[in-house]
């Protein structure tokens, strides 16, 4: 096992005992590639996700420029279709999900008082499979092809020539039979289906890892109902992923089989059923909405109490409401497909289920308001984003409730009303929550403070831009503007609000620019954050900043919910929180202890194999796309050899790197957890 630099190491390179050595470097390029440290993996997840946020954002701007004026030809129809398909695919699968995964990875062990996740190498493999899957899916920009349907014709203005126009263009929902071979010729939709399949593997792996970590690695005394709400939401999301991803995996396999091997699962001419795809897709797709928004709900539940200086109102209610949302989320999928023709009983059932899901969501909203009520609110940037989340999510939630009324839902189907609604939920909700988290944990990540003024500018610009962009979409939708349509016409009377929406999109883009400037400047030149900059409540803020590699020098023992707060504060006779008399000593001691572990701490060793597994799987994916071209089978073989070979290496690589004179086994009981977990992982 790798050891940290404290106390001074006796590690000297010595001859390897097996053919596979574990990499020794923990710094530099190879340090990142081979790392199994959950914090580094979280950071890599975060930066990758943000890169895709920018890509998806550029596509959004292209879409909005195209729709700014009537009869526009800024993009060709093919380019427009590819832009809205990839915008949604990237934002959902390559930005919000991995950004949430970044927080899960980085925070989960810190919040439950552990030194790493249960299976550190599985954590790494999840990231690398995600990254290579994302690279693969995006590479359709370079290699993808698409063309007119078999026997079809090309309408005016439909040019396929550009690279953008040759990306996947069947919509992120990929409705069959349009996504099948006959109507989406070329390789673009293969890239889409196989790319999502690969990215799904990554999420599935990490969901199992998180569930095991939460159940097994909590610090002493941290009962389930003493876990921070964010940990609870991670737990719930992990189960959602575990149950919903296999559904889309099966559906994507069926599409891939239809496209590659001539099966007819969704092809009506061969007796298949196109509606089956819709059921499968939305049976995954609706829980997916909660996969996207629950992590942000968790983050907001951390931020609001800290900046209101009050405990979270109705902790248990918030936790169980989150679980209830996840459970009910599996029972509402058909409200996405009322126009497809479903029976009266099903309409009523799904309408009622949709209405019911508003109840746990409402419970959360009222508890967040109750948390702020009467609190000493400090309007720092994370708090602004958290309040923004609550207010915008209410709007998105309410327009969502209108979908439970069948006639209203039916009328709104495929109009811009829907686009407005889910952007309030996913942008006003999920993305605002993620930004609240990014600002809140910036000091933990870097040890520096961000620039408060730029942070607030970012918030107000984004808040304004968001409402300008997505508010008017409701009205456009009610006026009848259809989604996913390349042009609209002068006579439709949609000009004014479409112009406003486009302006709003650029305001959002400007706000993202402010965020990036703030991040880069503060990371380099920010003020030192010190210890516990927010006077926070939860365990992870007991650590010195930035967090040392080993997290906790001594694993903590937990006696209460909001453990850190209770160590710092006590109650006076009136039940008000007052600082303990020895507050300064407690804090100084925590910081000192955190930086100076008494004994050598073992951490999971780095490994080459997670990276190689991801690398190999990418070739398998390319192979599937080019199967019909003949050379695909060789790519698949190459990928399989790399991936399977890596699994062999994974299984036989030594548990620890031999370091002279210091046997890692004889260590204190504190470290057994991680060691055992790593051992179990190898056995498994």
């Amino acid at each position: 096992m790798a050891t940290t630099a404290i106390p001074p190491q006796e590690e000297t390179p010595s001859a390897p005992t097996t053919i596979f050595r574990r990499p020794a470097s923990t710094e530099g390029f190879w340090g990142w590639v081979t790392t199994t440290d959950h914090k580094k993996i979280g950071i890599m997840y975060g930066y990758s996700a943000f890169f895709f946020f920018l890509l998806g954002g550029i596509e959004a701007l292209l879409i909005r420029v195209q729709l700014a004026v009537p009869d526009n030809t800024f993009l060709s129809a093919a380019e427009y279709n590819a832009a809205f398909t990839m915008h949604a695919t990237i934002m959902v699968f390559l930005f919000v999900m991995p950004m949430a995964a970044a927080f899960f990875n980085y925070l989960l062990p810190l919040m439950i008082g552990a030194r790493d996740v249960a299976f550190p190498r599985m954590n790494a493999v999840s990231y690398w499979i995600f990254l290579f899957g994302a690279i693969f899916a995006s590479s359709s920009f370079l290699f993808g092809t698409s063309g007119a349907p078999v026997g079809g014709y090309l309408p005016d203005g439909a040019e396929w020539a550009s690279r953008l126009g040759s990306m996947p263009n069947g919509g992120w929902f990929g409705y069959a039979p349009n996504s099948l071979e006959a109507f989406s010729t070329g390789t673009a939709m293969d890239y889409w289906a196989v790319g999502l399949q690969v990215i799904g593997i990554a999420s599935l792996i990490s969901s199992i890892n998180f569930i095991v970590t939460i159940l097994n690695l909590r610090a002493k005394g941290m009962k389930l109902l003493r876990m921070p709400v964010f940990v609870w939401m991670t737990f719930v999301v992990a189960f959602l992923l575990l149950f919903s991803l296999p559904i889309i995996a099966v559906a994507l396999f069926m599409v891939t089989f239809d496209r590659q091997f001539g099966t007819v699962f969704f092809d009506a001419t061969g007796g298949g059923d196109p509606v089956l795809w819709q059921h499968l897709f939305w049976l995954f797709g609706h829980p997916e909405v909660y996969i996207l928004v629950l992590p942000s709900m968790g983050l907001v539940s951390e931020v609001l109490p800290t900046f209101s200086r009050k405990p979270l109102f109705g902790y248990a209610a918030v936790v169980f409401a989150g679980a209830a949302i996840a459970f009910l989320g599996f029972g509402v999928w058909a409200h996405h497909m009322y126009a497809s023709g479903i029976s009266t009983v099903a309409q009523a059932a799904f309408g009622l289920a949709t209405m019911t899901i508003a109840v746990p969501t409402g419970i959360k909203i009222f508890n967040w308001m109750g948390t702020m009520w009467g609190g000493k609110i400090r309007f720092k940037t994370p708090m602004l984003f958290a309040i923004g989340f609550v207010s915008l999510f209410v709007i998105g939630g309410l327009s969502g409730v209108t979908h439970s009324i069948v006639p209203s839902n039916w009328q709104q189907t495929d109009t811009y009303y829907i686009v407005g609604h889910f952007h309030y939920v996913l942008f006003g909700g999920a993305v605002f929550g993620l930004f609240a988290g990014l600002y809140y944990y910036f000091p933990m990540l870097t040890g520096k403070m961000y620039n408060e003024r730029l942070g607030k500018l970012h918030f107000w610009l984004m808040f304004l831009g968001m409402n300008l962009t997505f508010g008017p979409m409701h009205w456009l939708g009610l006026q009848g503007m259809p989604r996913r349509t390349w042009v609209w016409f002068e006579e439709q009377g949609l000009a004014f609000w479409n112009a406003v929406v486009t302006v709003g999109a650029f305001v959002i883009a400007a706000s993202a620019l402010v965020f990036m400037i703030n991040w880069m400047l503060s990371k380099r030149r920010g003020v030192d954050a010190g210890f516990d900059p927010w006077d926070a409540r939860t365990l992870e803020w007991m650590l010195p900043l930035p967090v040392p590699e080993y997290n906790y020098a001594k694993l903590p023992t937990v006696t209460a919910l909001d453990e850190f707060w209770h160590r710092k504060y006590t109650e006076d006779e009136d039940g008000r929180a007052v600082r303990r008399d020895d507050y300064d000593e407690i804090v100084a001691q925590l910081e000192h202890e955190g930086r100076n572990p008494e004994e050598e701490i073992e951490l999971p060793s780095p490994s080459y194999f997670p990276f190689l597994v991801g690398f190999g799987i990418m070739f398998v994916a390319y192979g599937v796309v080019y199967l019909s071209a003949g050379f695909g089978i060789w790519l698949m073989l190459l990928g399989a050899v790399i991936a399977l070979g890596s699994f062999v290496g994974w299984s036989v690589e030594p548990l620890e790197e031999h370091h002279g004179g210091h046997d890692g086994h004889a260590e204190a009981a504190d470290h057994e957890e991680i060691e055992d977990a790593d051992a179990e992982e190898v056995e498994a």
Binding site: A77, A268, M337, G341, G480, P482, T485
Partner: protein
């Protein structure tokens, strides 16, 4: 374990329950009383033989003896056949649609008609046009590169 509820809490709980009851009532009313039904699967059809199968062998409008009209429309990439439906004002029109290729969406502007047209299935939807005028038909379900060109109209004559 529950102590006496605060008055505001009681009010908010009451309003929530009331909201759910009203909502459930609205669903029941819309289905049972107002008779609002979503299109349901009426018939199956072989998508490869649409043009050889009645009634799609003769797409177009027929005025029935009872004064109602039936409009048989094929939705295909990327046009409506026929793309103009002409009916006198006050006529109850039953639209009968199918698709020989991909999913399409049949939406008539300024009406509640919005139905998915599914290959292999026949979609039926009914609408009465009381006032003369022109109503645009658009394809509401993304159907590929020519999706934006799928326009049609309902001409309601006085």
């Amino acid at each position: 374990m529950i102590k006496t509820l605060d008055r505001y809490e009681k009010i908010i709980l009451g309003l929530t329950v009331l909201g759910l009851i009203l909502g459930a009532g609205a669903i029941a009313l819309s289905v049972l009383e107002a008779g609002i039904h979503l299109p349901t699967i009426e018939d199956r059809i072989d998508p490869a033989a649409v043009r050889d199968t009645a009634p799609f062998d003769e797409p177009g409008v027929t005025i029935n003896s009872d004064g109602t009209a039936t409009a048989v429309i094929i939705a295909q990439t990327w046009l409506w056949e026929p793309d103009t439906i002409e009916v006198p004002a006050g006529t109850e029109v039953e639209f009968v649609l199918t698709s020989p290729d991909v999913l399409h969406g049949f939406h008539i502007w300024d009406t509640a008609v919005n139905a998915m047209v599914i290959p292999g299935q026949v979609t039926r939807v009914t609408q009465t046009f009381d006032n003369p005028g022109e109503f645009g038909i658009v394809c509401h379900e993304y159907c590929g590169i020519g999706h934006h060109t799928m326009f049609g109209r309902v001409l309601v004559t006085p």
